[in-house]
């Protein structure tokens, strides 16, 4: 197996995630796109871990998974709060800071 095939898969997933973050308006879908980005990073970490014959990449992949779980918890709580206050989860309606 080539190293590049895993790195390119990670790059494709990363770009799809970036596209989702830019295009989507629904906050839950933006969080899902962020999950795509974090997973592509994990694939890269594990590929380089296998290439360098070390275990460090595994450790960081596990930490990334834990941070992603925390991020989803807080993010969805914020989405819930936003829905309760505004009856909407559209991110472009949060425009109070616009001058």
């Amino acid at each position: 197996m080539l190293l590049n095939q895993f790195l390119m898969l990670g790059a494709v997933l990363f770009c799809i995630g970036v596209y989702g973050v830019i295009v989507r308006k629904n906050a839950v879908l933006v969080l899902m796109s962020i999950e795509l980005i974090l997973n592509s990073v994990n694939i890269n970490l594990l590929a380089f871990s296998l290439r360098n014959n070390s275990v460090d990449g595994h450790t960081f992949a596990l930490y990334v998974i834990a941070v992603a779980a925390a991020e989803v918890g807080v993010g969805l709580a914020m989405v819930l709060l936003m829905y309760r206050n505004r009856r909407s989860v559209g991110l472009d309606e949060l425009s109070e800071m616009k001058g």
């Binding site: 197996m1 970036v18 830019i22 899902m32 594990l46 941070v67 918890g73």
Partner: protein, 170 residues
């Protein structure tokens, strides 16, 4: 190149799983239905777990399945159902000027693919690498990476308390 250097079964498996993952990821960012997006995300995450197994990372693969598919997806589905009672397709999921996302993503992808092709052209992964055992991973986490592990524990605790405080009705 010896015939034993080419792992045919692994390469075919990689190609099939990668194709499924890319299709699933594209559906996540294009579908009109939030619940369908969550279910396509499950496909992508399961494919990622399979790729981790191909990369000799069993423990991370199992963790991926338990944490992502078990816990995070349930959170997503709860979030969807608590914020939108509607299950069917919706029209206003995308930004009005979101079309600029397409050239940005394509340019980013082109840059990354060119850079990867330059940097790691036909560099091979070791063929007979041993599977990384859970013992090795835990030796790393509870040895040199103990301090980040503690920090991460506090991050998770703070996130749990913060989520409860934010979502509580008072």
């Amino acid at each position: 190149m010896l015939a034993s250097d080419v792992l045919v079964a692994q390469n075919v498996g990689f190609a099939i799983i990668a194709a499924i993952m890319v299709i699933g990821a594209l559906r996540v960012v294009t579908t009109k239905n939030v619940v369908h997006a969550a279910l396509w995300l499950v496909v992508v995450l399961a494919g990622a777990a399979a790729q981790y197994v191909l990369l000799a990372a069993e423990f991370v693969a199992i963790t991926q399945i338990m944490v992502y598919i078990g816990a995070v997806m349930v959170l997503f589905l709860f979030g969807t159902m608590l914020t939108r009672a509607r299950i069917g397709a919706e029209q206003d999921l995308n930004n009005k000027n979101g079309i600029i996302g397409l050239p940005i993503a394509v340019l980013l992808l082109a840059t990354m693919l060119i850079a990867l092709n330059d940097g790691f052209k036909s560099e091979k992964l070791p063929v007979d690498a041993p599977v990384v055992t859970t013992q090795q991973v835990s030796d790393q986490i509870f040895g040199p990476y103990l301090l980040p592990f503690w920090a991460l524990s506090f991050v998770l605790l703070a996130a749990a308390i913060g989520a409860i405080v934010l979502a509580r009705r008072d």
